[in-house]
């Protein structure tokens, strides 16, 4: 039987006393949390332990005794042995250490059913000096009893207390799941024993104990100030949010056109998303559980970084009046784009790339699109006096965060390239109609038709007039296909360029929203707080003493940090796989490659 004792490093040089901790059921191990020094009154110790147990919900008990004899403290051995009678336990550990030696010596006293303590010695070699017959029973007994081996695992108490072992269990345990592992129980025990560590050596209590905070409690002025300031701040933010949600809930804003617009504009989506975040942050109650705390911290840090970047952008834009520069170049740029489009259409109306188009259809389509461009340009020229003001005020909205500025940019690009979107829709619809017509008429050509009920192609006897008209239409559609296909191709390519640009903007907004900055910072600066596991190092292996190992925390890898702590967003992801996208493009269905996950509205 191997007994593992988790021993805090701060108690390596503590004065003699009682070991207080917890036995971990199911495994042969114990966690030592503190050492209570002499002098003490056993009744007070028992009362103290019961108080601590009630406060921390951890099953504390006295594990055994610790002795580090200093000068003038001989004769403790018998005293220590008598202590085991005062604190009745199943097992009693007697750990002792000599000043000039590294290793500890541990004796485990078992209590058998009669109440007698039976001692088992921990030595590497068995005592073989019994020969008499009446000792054969004892020999047998000894041979039946196994040797106890003790391993001391040293751990840094402060780090283990602050650390969180992954994967995290949240809430109620599933009774069918495996019981928590030994390591998880150790970490949980230390983390929950906070009340035990609240007494330091300057307190005037009946008991003196040694633990990681016994030199003085840890605290920081900034943290305390922030804690004090956070409650009124939360209340203020909550009140502002209530006003904002009331404004958003006004019925006039819920009419159909406004609703449709606000679902399409990414700025509105970003606004509602940030409102949600602020609601999470502004709840005055403290965070419950590690995940909740990390989520809040991540949101806060992302928001602060976002606003900082936005302010940086504003200072760059408004210095030297760059914003008026941008506004002044916007209209000429739009004009230039329109001119390029016109040239493209003229090229298509001729003989593009040597392809022979159907002249009449070419002219019709080309003229139609040219007229549209003309309309668009007039609209832009109408708007040009207001553009500078709009941009000036719009740029100010970047103080709400860089993500806002990017969403605003994406929306403006969408508005400015609206005519390309219109052309794409026209071209795609025409092409789609043609493809459907062709496929249906091809079936008529062969004398078959589509059976909608059975979802298959069946033969069919058509009338003479159906056949006649069907063939005429088939011929017409077939010969007009190259022209329509070319227009469709050109406009789809243009639309895809715009979509890709918008997609890049959305992806960067998404990244800024969801990247867990706080968790990443924690991983880099205080890596022991996010633990994936532990590793052991051998400290001392002297013969005659127990094995000593040092437990070091293995931090979580950066990729698991990102995966675990990503803030869920209305993420923007490609809706179709490549194959489905190509098929849709080929048939002529309208393509919206980026789809937002819809946020649930309460």
């Amino acid at each position: 039987m191997v007994l593992k004792i988790f021993f805090p490093q701060c108690c390596n040089r503590a004065d003699s006393g009682l070991l207080v901790g917890r036995w971990i059921d199911g495994h042969d191990s114990a966690v030592v949390l503190a050492v209570i020094h002499y002098p003490f009154i056993p009744g007070q110790v028992k009362q103290y332990i019961q108080e601590m147990q009630a406060q921390s919900q951890v099953e504390l008990s006295v594990l055994g005794s610790w002795s580090l004899p200093k000068e003038g403290q001989e004769g403790m051995e018998s005293f220590l042995k008598d202590l085991s009678t005062i604190f009745p336990q199943g097992r009693w550990l007697q750990v002792s250490r000599e000043i000039d030696k590294m290793g500890f010596i541990c004796q485990v006293l078992h209590r058998d059913q009669n109440g007698k303590t039976v001692q088992k010695e921990v030595k590497k070699k068995k005592d073989e000096q019994r020969g008499s017959d009446d000792d054969k029973e004892e020999e047998k007994e000894e041979e039946e009893e196994e040797e106890d081996k003790v391993i001391f695992v040293h751990y840094e108490q402060r780090k283990v207390m602050l650390s969180q072992l992954h994967p995290i269990e949240n809430g109620v345990r599933d009774p069918k799941a495996d019981p928590p592992s030994e390591l998880q129980q150790v970490f949980q025990t230390v983390a929950r024993s906070d009340p035990l560590f609240s007494q330091d050596k300057y307190d005037d209590g009946p008991l003196k104990s040694t633990h990681w905070q016994s030199e003085g409690r840890e605290g920081s002025i900034i943290v305390e100030l922030l804690k004090q300031a956070s409650t009124p701040l939360c209340l203020l933010v909550g009140w502002l949010l209530a006003i904002w949600t009331w404004i958003c809930g006004i019925r006039i804003l819920h009419l159909y056109p406004m609703r449709f617009l606000s679902s399409k504009l990414s700025t509105c989506t970003q606004l509602s998303y940030r409102t949600q975040h602020m609601t999470t942050l502004s709840s005055p109650s403290a965070a419950v559980g590690h995940t909740h705390f990390m989520r809040k911290a991540n949101i806060l840090v992302s928001f602060v970084v976002d606003v900082a970047l936005g302010l940086l952008l504003i200072s760059w834009l408004y210095r030297e009046n760059r914003i008026t520069l941008v506004a002044n170049t916007l209209v000429p740029v739009a004009d230039h784009v329109a001119k390029e489009l016109e040239e493209l259409l003229q090229w298509l109306m001729g003989a593009p790339a040597g392809l022979k188009m159907n002249r009449a259809l070419d002219q019709v389509l080309g003229r139609f699109f040219l007229y549209h461009i003309h309309l668009w340009i007039s609209y832009i020229h109408l708007m040009s006096p207001f553009i500078e003001t709009i941009l000036w005020y719009g740029g100010l909205s970047a103080c709400l965060g860089l993500t806002f500025a990017l969403s605003l940019l994406s929306d403006m690009v969408a508005l400015l390239t609206f005519h390309i979107y219109c052309f794409y829709v026209y071209g795609a619809r025409l092409y789609c109609l043609k493809i459907y017509g062709l496929s249906s008429l091809w079936r008529l050509f062969r004398g078959k038709k589509w059976n909608v009920l059975r979802q298959r192609v069946d033969s069919c006897s058509y009338d003479l007039d159906q056949l006649f008209i069907g063939t005429l239409l088939f011929t017409i559609l077939l010969f007009l296909l190259p022209t329509t296909a070319l227009y469709y191709l050109v406009f789809t390519l243009l639309r895809l360029v715009v979509v890709v640009f918008q997609g890049v903007l959305h992806l960067s907004v998404d990244f800024l929203n969801s990247f867990p900055l706080f968790a990443m910072g924690l991983r880099i600066c205080r890596s022991y707080r996010l633990a994936e596991g532990v590793k052991f190092r051998v400290l001392c292996e002297e013969p005659g003493t127990a094995l000593h190992l040092l437990m070091e925390i293995n931090p979580l890898t950066c990729s698991s940090v990102v995966q675990n702590y990503r803030t869920p967003t209305y993420s923007c992801y490609p809706k179709d796989s490549w194959a489905a996208l190509t098929k849709k493009l080929f048939i002529g269905e309208l393509v919206y490659p980026w789809r937002h996950k819809t946020t649930k509205v309460d």
Partner: protein
Amino acid sequence: MGPDGAPGPAVPWRKVLWERQPFPDNYVDRRFLEELRRNEGIRQYRYWAVVREAGLVGQQLSCVAIFITLWLYMEQGLLSPESLLWTSLLCALLGYGLFEALRPQVDSGCEPRTRLADLQSAAIFLSFTFGFSPVLKTLTESVSTDTVYAMSAVMLLAHLVSFPYAQPSPPGSLSLNAALFASVCLGSRLPGALHTFAMLSCALLVFALWPCLLHRIRENAPGQFGGVCVGACIGGVGGLGSQWLGGAVLLALALGSVTLLCPLLLVRLQRHKDNIQGPWDEAEIREDLGHFLH
């Protein structure tokens, strides 16, 4: 008696394998291959009857030739579209009259088409064709001439191959569509929209309405059927000959081989037929739903 000549035992042999018999497993008696039937479904062809039936194929070939002739005339400007239109109209009316005259006295059981329905169909055809002919005219402008000729040839071949020679009256979809496609391709090469309209009407007449009339003639006036076929063949050869002599020769050869040579081959080769049938054939399910009605 087995094949090895030894006298068999007294127990007669039965053609079963699930019973132990004193004979070996591969034993056969003299009733071997009793149920073999040779050339069961063979028909006795008579030469002239086959020639008569093959006349339909030749006739269809000549129809295509006539159509191409008309197109050649139109393309060279020797035939004006108005005259073609009026002739087509006249022929249509004559054909319609003949069709009605040859209607069988006994009602076939299903309701015949009313005059109104026929008029409606004719109106739809004409209006559609007239309305679409400017569009149809410009369809193959950008396609090269060789491609157009090749497509038309392939389509006319498809028409000939898939024509329902057994029962031409409801026209087969693929054959009619292929012929119309070819006519649109050829018609779009003509100089004007009216030419295209005339061409299409002519195609409709030749490929859609003429087989119906032919079917009626074959059913009800079999004596005249042969004469009609011969007339069509002569018309085809003659018409093609006026434009393209080589083509006429080729057509005559083709007609001769299809109508005279192939039936000869069919009849002569019948005697080399050697089919065997027996109880080992796959069962054929004859769907005879008649016995459900009794």
